[in-house]
Structure formats: C-alpha cells, structure tokens
Amino acid sequence: MVALRFLRALSLVRCSGPGARSPSYRARGIRRAAYACMAASAGPRRAWSRALLRKIRRRPGRGLRRPRAVIRRRRPVGGGDPLEVALRRLVPGGGCMEYCRLLEEAADYVKCLAMQVRLMQTIVDSASHVNSID
C-alpha cells in the first residue's frame, strides 16, 4: 500500500517542476512526500500519523485556520527524563501523550519508518540498476 502511494507521490513531485527546481528543493519535496505517504498508509488510528499529516499539511503562509473539532490536549508533561524528552521530540505528536502511549506510538512509528526506508532503498537500488544497464 505504501509502495503504490509513494510511487504516485514521487511522480507527482517529479511532475511539479521538471527542470526549474534545484535538487535540494526536489529532495525536500520527496522527503515530505515520503512522510506523507507513510502517515497516510498508517491510517488515522495512530496519533503519530495524524500529527505528522497535520504538520505536513500546515504550510507556512497559510493563514486561514479551520476550527478544529477535536481539542488537542496540551498537557504539560513534567519531562524530567532527558531520554523521554528526546523521544517525545522525535516521535510526531509525542508532546501530549502519556509515557505508555508514547512507547506504543514510538513502536509503530519505528516500524513504519523502517518500511519506508526499505522502500526508498529499493527504489534507489532499482533506479541505479537500470541506470547502470544503459
């Protein structure tokens, strides 16, 4: 599921600006597409996927804010443990969760990240393989 989505998104990124964009711009777009595909395929059930999609879709410069149906809970977490704080920063949406939930979300996030990395690695490998054939 992720593979298909990502391929589509890749082609979209490629279509958006054939020669005018610098590679770094394209790289950023690809990275954003990767995270978006990962989060979209994970589904809305996961807190990290929701937070990730929210972060991606919230572009800088978009002034209009729709009223949110769900009130995000901003519970001040007494982060005494530097490791816990670091984990919260790494996992998207990890600022408002309980520790137990954070570990759960981190596990799922790690799994999806690993899959995404393998997917991209395969694509790069196949691309370079095709390249080397020519």
Partner: protein, 325 residues
Amino acid sequence: MPAQGRDGQNRFIEFAIIVVVVVMQQAPVSDLSVLERQRLHFDWQQQEQPSRHSYDADLCVRSLNSFTCFSNGLPDLAQYSMPVASNFEEAGVAASNCNPKRRKAESSPKSKQDESNCKRGKQERRSESRQQNNRKEASGDTSSYKNEEHPKADYIHVRARRGQATDSHSLAERVRRERISQRMKYLQELVPGCSKITGKAGMLDEIINYVQSLQRQVEFLSMKLAAVNPLAADNNFSNCSMGISSEPMEQPFLHFNSLQAHPCSGLDMYMDSSSDLVPDGSSFVSCSALNSLYGVEFQLGRGTAAFPFQSFQGNLLPNNLKMEI
C-alpha cells in the same frame, strides 16, 4: 466468623494477601496469558473447595500477580480472600491474625466506599501483622460473590505480592509500570541490537538512536532519489495520476476506506496511459523493482492490500517501458 477464620488458619501460607483494585477497562491485552494461567489456577481452586463461598471467576481471572504466589507448590492453599465483604467490622475485629482482605460488598453502591475504607484500614493492620508470619486466613465471611455484581462494580481484583503496598495509587502505578515494561519489551524486539541491552535507560537510548538514524536515512535517500531521477515525467501520466494521488494528500481520513478500492482504478489508469507514453517519457518502475517493492511490503506485514495488484504486473509494464534515468 472468627471461628471459621481460625479454621482456615491451619492452612496458611506465608503470603500477605493484598488485593489490588484496578479499573477493568485498563487491563492491557497482553495480560491474557497471565489471565489464562489465573483461570487454570482458579479452576484448580474451585475443585479444592467447592463448598466455600463462590468465587467470582472473573475476579480471579483478572488478577495479575496471584499466580506467582501459588507457584511455590503449596497445595493446601486456603481460599484466598476475595475482595469486599459487607462485614468490614469483622475484619476490624480479626485484626491480629487477619491478612488484609478485600471483601466485595453485597450491595454494590456501598462497595466502593467500603473498599476504600477496607484498603486503608487493612494497610495499617497489615503493617502491624507483618512481624507475625502472615497467614492466610480463611475468609470467614459468608458474603457470596455474585457474578452479576462484578460488572456493576467494574473492578479488577488482583493479588499483589508480599511486602508491597496496598494503596490504590501504588497499585495503579504498578499496573502502569507493568504496561510500560511490556511496551519496552516490544520495542526491544523491534529495534535491532537491543536485545543485549538490559535496563530502561540503555534501551531508550538505543531506540532514540535508531529513530534518528532512520530519519537521517530517509533524508539521505530522498536526496539520492532527487539526484538520481531528474524530472522527466510525461504530461499524460501526470494528468492521469493527479486526480488519484491528490486524494491521499488532501483528505486521508474521509477517503481512507475508499482509497482501498481506488488503487485498482489507479492501476487501470496507469495501464491506459502506458500505451500512450513515449518510452523516454515514462517513469514507470521496472517489473523487478515492483516485485521487490511488494516483497518489502509483504515482509513487513502490510502487503495485504497489494495482493490484488500482482495480477496487474504482467500487463502493467510493457517491456520497452522502463524507468528513465
């Protein structure tokens, strides 16, 4: 009641019986194995003393720790006290030889208040009686544990080990700690190289390093993809895919279910457009790459949606179309 209690004293084992009250809904799924053990042991218990007050099967089953108490091979375990009787005063009378017991009140409205009172009182008494060999007292109360009361009271009664506090807060904390340790174990399996590390801090460190390395890899691979594939997409292909690929970006939640069905139509679009594409304008991945991609997904357990696509592969990629670099 005290007489019956003294009867049971002959069969005491050296455990302090404390019953932890936990909210039922928070019982983690992974406790099932423990619950099954509890169930087995409870069946054994039932066989031993059927004449005694009826236990609530659900109560026993959901107890977390009691199995470890019984694994020491003391078969003549007296019936352990089940939570909450209405006779709080009896328990107060039998302070010297009683183990803190939770007795389930006959009337559920009173149950919570009684339990909290029981807990506090019994904690004190337990600390007093700790010097004595704590013996398990046969619950002399005649309160019958009604199964139908249990769902109303909505409690899980578990047994804690000796030497541990009976406070509801600490008990809840203990449950929370166990859940956290379960999650950590799962994470340990997920992260490669974490099985050798013991200790929460080391594991957390390893997990954080792993997540950071994965994110760095994503960045690096995206840069590589951008460098390796200069944009050479065909307009037809882009027009076809725009309507479909924009969906997941825009409204993933509403269309999530419909997207499961859409990929088939998406592939149809690909198939239709492939015939129109000039070879050097296509951006299809080669067949082998697609196979390996699906292999990646299958391995990671998310490839269930990709099964129907395998039949498309033969038609999807004509041989003359490959990814142009």
